[in-house]
Amino acid sequence: MESKKILSSIVQGKKVKVVGFDYHMGLFSRHHHRLLRLHEANDLERHGVFFTRRLQEMGILPGEIIEVLRNGNIGPVEVIVKNSHLAIGRGIASRIYVEEIDE
């Protein structure tokens, strides 16, 4: 199945499988609305490693099936992972790759 999507784009109520993370955000930052300087890009990458580690420690691991419980157009995404509820900020959720699974 070639349907890699980002978590923040998944409609609520769907179950998805985690496939990976976007560690690098690229040199254009949506947050700063401009190209990043080198030290900023480095910081961002460190930050990327930092938050993916925490996500994985909370159970968002490649291969894990999670359920999108709440996803409005703005604000965090709430998922059920390993029986517990986890709120993930929209920016982070847009850097988690998932696959929709057919039921």
Partner: protein, 640 residues
């Protein structure tokens, strides 16, 4: 038998750890900070079965990596201070993630007892956990508890005492997959050549394979580091994932296996009330309606109750004044003591306490029921514009009571950048003292509409400052990753403890500063320094369009904001300010007091959390900012 045993309580957040801590220590606790860290440390003593036991409550965390200061504190405490026993409190309804944490504790090779807490939630879900089997699989004692109903705690304590008396206990062992285990062994073997390791070899080996940055910096041997690089590259090749992912997956694989083996489904699950409540609390529209009405209601209650209590305590103290004035001591000294020291204490009790006590109480209730996490969820989007995530909203709400606890409370944020932004914004939030001024001056003499206008100005300013800080403070905004705890009934013992701890911290910290500052200021008045200061301030007065006597009261505001109003009344010998100030002046005065400089206690809090430089920069920055905006306002009001 004089030895004091140390028992540490560890576990995830939201597992009922504080309830167990409370029951075990019976309310006698010492709360402070971990040395050199901005992490709260709570400990208590108890005597049980002839043993003296010190119980240390470790912060609620999810892992022993280095994501936050809490995690570093916990792992250093366990590894370096060798508690006699660690009680891992596990949320039974969330077994896998809690086992994930337990495995890391086991790797620290300390004696562990597992408390399988919140077992009632498991039953509600129609499940059952075989604690006997769990205990066998882990090689550790496991006790079912429902702390909120005081069930299983006696048994837990009995087990703790038995282990301490016997002096030994199984440490359990977790085995991972072959590829990982063989590399852990190679690395542990290599670590043998190093001296004075701060952690058990197996723990270090696993953390190195996980690429734990702190562990890398602690291992000085390049030989080992090179070996680690080779090993984790091998792992990455075999599994096609980063090696930290491999290790974390391995842990979860073992956790799932164990969870599957011990959990049986007995009945159909009851409908989870918490999920139903969330349908409203986190609703895209109703969630915000609820949040806003709740916040307004809280402010209404706090200020209604606060002003009532404040008046009562104030008049109680003023009853004492005539008696004091009868005392046979020299008049200047008498004034210094009463107007300086005692008025300072009165201010603490009569002006600050009545507002922050109910505020803390409500905050603790919100925290204990799980609603604070919902607030963070709802406000995450808004707060992101200011460069911080939703959890930042909580200290900002706290700030309406008093800025000091808000700055100390900014510790809920994981990274320093976020804490700094939140703290600076917190100093601009109108605390109860400033509210007193706006209500007592602007609302009374200009009408409530103008008071609201000042608030609106202030909120706009906070937003703009937030945007600027986000843009110019180095670093990347942190995103939100937060467990959403289930809604639960609050436990009042815990709520009162939390309220008490917060209040105590505030008083120990702020009271001496308020009193000292008050004495200094009274000394200045007695020594007739006021005249020269007034003339020195005259350019500022002209710039702001305020009379010089009014300007000088702004200095008093540095001590405590509400002093500006009190001193205004003292200087002009009237409380009818309309007689001495024009409406424009009242408006400018109110606005400038709102923003011009944090009070001394707040500055001290900034210094404690971020150092001298930040405290000075923020104070000067806000001083200049307030002057410029006040001057601008003066100019505009003159033109129109």
């Amino acid at each position: 038998m004089n030895k004091t045993f140390t028992v540490a309580l560890a576990g995830n957040a939201n597992v009922g750890k504080s309830v167990i801590f409370n029951q075990l220590t019976g309310g006698s606790q010492i709360v402070g900070n971990w040395p050199g860290k901005t992490v709260e440390k709570a400990e208590g003593f108890t005597e049980q079965g002839g043993l003296r036991i010190r119980i240390v409550d470790l912060p609620g965390i999810y892992s022993l990596s280095t994501y936050s200061e809490e995690e570093i504190v916990s792992r250093e405490f366990i590894a370096h201070e060798h508690p006699d026993l660690v009680v891992d409190i596990i949320d039974a309804s969330n077994l896998e993630r809690n086992l994930f944490f337990l495995f890391q504790l086991m790797e620290l090779e300390v004696p562990i007892v597992v408390a399988l807490n919140q077992y009632d939630v498991v039953e509600e879900k129609g499940l059952e956990i075989d604690e006997q089997k769990l205990s066998e699989l882990l090689g550790l004692p496991v006790i079912k508890t429902i702390a909120t109903k005081n069930r299983g705690l006696k048994e837990l304590f009995q087990v703790i005492i038995n282990i301490l008396k016997r002096g030994k206990n199984g440490r359990g062992k977790v085995e991972y997959g072959k590829e990982v285990e063989s590399r852990i062994k190679i690395l542990s073997k290599a670590l043998e050549q190093l001296q004075e390791l701060k952690y058990p070899k197996r723990f270090i080996a696993i953390k190195l394979l996980e690429k734990d940055p702190l562990m890398f910096s602690e291992i000085k041997s390049t030989e080992i580091i090179n070996l680690v690089r080779i090993l984790y590259k091998e792992l990455e090749e075999i599994h096609g994932e980063k090696s930290e992912t491999v290790i974390i997956s391995e842990r979860y694989a073992v956790a799932s296996r164990i969870a599957e083996a011990v959990i049986t489904k007995m009945r159909k699950a009851k409908k989870d009330l918490s999920d139903v409540l969330d349908k409203v609390a986190l609703h895209r529209f109703w969630g915000y309606v609820l949040l806003i009405s709740l916040v307004l209601f809280i402010f209404f209650v706090v200020f209604k109750f606060g002003s009532y209590l404040s008046g009562m305590i104030g008049s109680l103290f003023s009853l004492l004044k005539p008696y004091f004035m009868y005392l046979n001591i020299p008049v200047p000294l008498k004034e210094l003591i009463w107007n300086g020291a005692i008025e300072g204490i009165i201010a603490g009790f009569a002006i600050v306490l009545p507002y922050i006590a109910p505020f803390y109480l409500i905050l603790s209730i919100l925290e204990d029921t799980g609603y604070l996490a919902r607030i963070a969820f709802l406000t995450d989007n808004l707060m992101h514009r200011l460069g911080v995530h939703g959890k930042a909203f909580i200290p900002l709400i706290e700030s309406f009571g008093c800025n000091v606890p808000a700055i100390l409370g900014s510790r809920v944020m994981e990274r320093k950048r976020d804490r700094l932004i939140v703290s600076i914004l917190a100093t601009l939030v109108p605390c109860s003292a400033r509210t007193v001024i706006i209500f007592g001056l602007v609302a009374v003499f200009l009408g409530p509409l103008y008071a609201i206008l000042i608030y609106v100005f202030d909120f706009i300013l906070i937003f703009i400052v937030g945007l600027l800080l986000n843009k110019y403070i180095k670093g990347t905004p942190t995103g939100l990753i937060m467990e959403m705890p289930r809604f639960r009934k609050p436990v009042f013992k815990v709520i009162f403890r939390q309220t008490w701890v917060r209040l105590k911290e505030f008083f120990y910290f702020a009271m001496p500063i308020i009193v000292t500052a008050n004495i200094v200021m009274e000394g200045l008045i007695l020594l007739k320094f006021i005249g020269p200061i007034t003339s020195a301030l005259s350019p500022i007065s002209r710039f702001l369009g305020l009379p010089s006597l009014a300007t000088i009261t702004l200095i008093f505001g540095v001590l405590r904001k509400e002093l500006t109003l009190i001193m205004l009344a003292t200087f002009y010998q009237t409380t009818n300010f309309a007689k001495v100030l024009t409406p424009q002046q009242i408006f400018i005065f109110g606005f400038v007091t709102m923003i011009y400089i944090p009070c001394v206690a707040t500055i001290a809090a900034l210094k404690r959390e971020f150092g001298n430089l930040t405290a000075i920069l923020v104070s000067i920055g806000e001083f200049i900012g307030a002057l410029l905006l006040g001057g601008l306002l003066n100019l505009l009001l003159r033109i129109f």
